[in-house]
Subunit: 170 residues, 2 copies
DNA sequence: AGTTTATGTCAGCGTTGTTGACATTCCAAG
DNA sequence: CTTGGAATGTCAACAACGCTGACATAAACT
């Protein structure tokens, strides 16, 4: 695609980034990039009979220790039955601790154990390394744009969950 | 996070975008955005007993008509056994046509039928609409940065597959 | 011709999504 | 205080889609 096309006759600014062709490229970029994004943690997880779902649970329990199952459900966007299976194995393996709520005994509050925190660190180190390399290669302005587009791509619910987490110093 | 932090004492330019905190935000943004990215096609697919794997196969057969199973495998990054199941249902349902190769009879060349093309259009219209809205909200410069970071995030193999497709006028 | 390599298919398994049924706990209406 | 409904979480069974292994067929190499 080395041929230079003239700017559209209208729209002044260049709306080239909104052509179907550009959108398709963005879609494919998203697909391939997401594979890279998950590749490193996936390799680690495969060695211990865990999957991506375990990673997600561990990540968000680490981010918000003491969170309830229901809370986690809303963030992960899966059914509680699906999450439950994952949590059960993590608890059995001593990665996660589940404490019955003191004010509301229906609730279970979730915490990472030392072992769980060690795994979390291992996984996120791998993922951050890839991210860091990509950020470094692309530069700060590209990163700002990257974040901006991603936020615009989220559903309203997810954007709320995201900004809420983002603005938590932790 | 409305508190303003001083620039780091070294590194001149601001390497703030490489802090662990920033990287974590990027990771979470990627997670939530990908959900939005797939949400609209997923809704359509769910109504017809198809899943994301069917969408991917349809997308790339449409992009490169006549491609072989092996070729598609390399792009999708799954095993041929996994792809086969999906292709079989698509062929049974009359979405995809599989023609035995003329020069090498081991190969099967894949094409979308009219019905398959109609579904492809429906799915990609939905996905492009979301993408277009996000692009429009973020603006052209953000989009350039978005693409740049995504490309840097891919594995080398995927980047080659991606750029090859990208530079195909189709 | 005979062995090796490439392509694609079939069978079976594991992770992780789904819905349905259920136990426990809380809370509010009577 | 009791009772009925809502909220929270668990258990069971099923579907989509990754995976490995075994295999049939066609091509290629010796």
């Amino acid at each position: 695609m080395s041929d230079i096309r003239p700017a559209p006759a209208f729209g002044g600014e260049s709306l080239l980034f909104l052509t179907d062709e550009q959108l398709r490229q963005g879609i494919e970029a998203m697909f391939f990039a997401y594979r890279g994004f998950t590749a490193d943690p996936d390799r680690i997880l495969a060695q211990m009979a865990y999957g991506r779902a375990h990673h997600r649970a561990i990540h968000f329990i680490n981010r918000a220790p003491g969170t309830t199952v229901n809370n986690l459900l809303a963030i992960l966007g899966v059914t509680k039955q699906s999450l439950n299976r994952v949590l059960r194995t993590l608890i059995e393996d001593g990665m996660v601790e589940s404490r019955v709520g003191t004010v509301d005994k229906r609730e279970r509050h979730l915490f990472l154990t030392d072992k769980g925190r060690a795994l979390e660190a291992k996984l996120s180190d791998a993922q951050r390394a890839r991210m860091r390399a990509a950020y470094k290669e692309a530069g700060p302005e590209a990163v700002a744009g990257f974040r901006k587009v991603l936020e615009a791509m989220m559903d309203a619910d997810m954007r709320r969950a995201y900004t809420k987490l983002r603005d938590t110093t932790s």
